[in-house]
Amino acid sequence: MTQPSPTKGGATGDRTGRFVTQPNGHVTPLSPHMEVWRWHVTMTASILFRATIIAASVGLVILVGWLGVLAFGPEHYACFLDLAGSPLGLFVGFGLTVVLFSFILNGARHLTNDTGAGLTLKSANLLSNIAVWAPVPLAVLFWVVLFAAGRVSL
């Protein structure tokens, strides 16, 4: 890879040293410094969406496994139910509902921002905060209702 080489203003007649010559000959401003930034919730929402897609892929593989045990008959499905009802299975199940709600909310945020909407500081922060935090209470609610209805038990 050819690295852009700083030219001390040679190409532009600029003497500030704020411009570099790119490999294709274009002169562009030097990038801001790598370490000068502060944490922002939009960054969390952004990287969390990638993590969510990875986790959702694992979830869908488990879904295909669920389809598989069903297709292989009742005794395999009983095995699956035992596993899903174990503490570890319930923990994974809870995690997958967090991932599902996160996928829906963060996906909606991403699509909204892709259209160019919701990009003012205020709305971007609001959408990111919803996408980052809301999946957890939603998943808790989901499981509280499941337990309360007696559909699932420890």
């Binding site: 897609i53 892929s57 598989g68 499905y77 509902t97 996928f103 699509l111």
Partner: protein, 134 residues
Amino acid sequence: MSDAAKFKNNVKVSERHGAGEWATERVALLALIPLGLWLASTAFTLAGASYEVVLAWFANGLNAVLLGLTAVVFFGFASLAWKVIIEDYIHKPGTKAALIAVLNLVCLVLAAASIFFITRLALGSAPLPAGFGA
């Protein structure tokens, strides 16, 4: 291919095709949001359900079609999303191409397996491996 200029001022021109995958990913994501909500309600309905209840659920054609659609659209979306992840972190051309090939194969196999299982469950076929040598 076309004789449209591939480079303009030494910059690669990609406006005619470069946005295709990006747009496909968005359309898939747009479809996955309602499908995801439906999947959440399905998970709620079928959590801890007995084998008979689950099979009765699959006997409803709408459920089978929606679940098949969810699986196919998701694995299509996942192949594009993982491709971007691979392209971001793997820079050796050979390794990158090999990983993307494996990725596409895995997504294709998972989507095909989903459709195969869902079809059998929707039709109420005998449990596997019936008719497959056992």
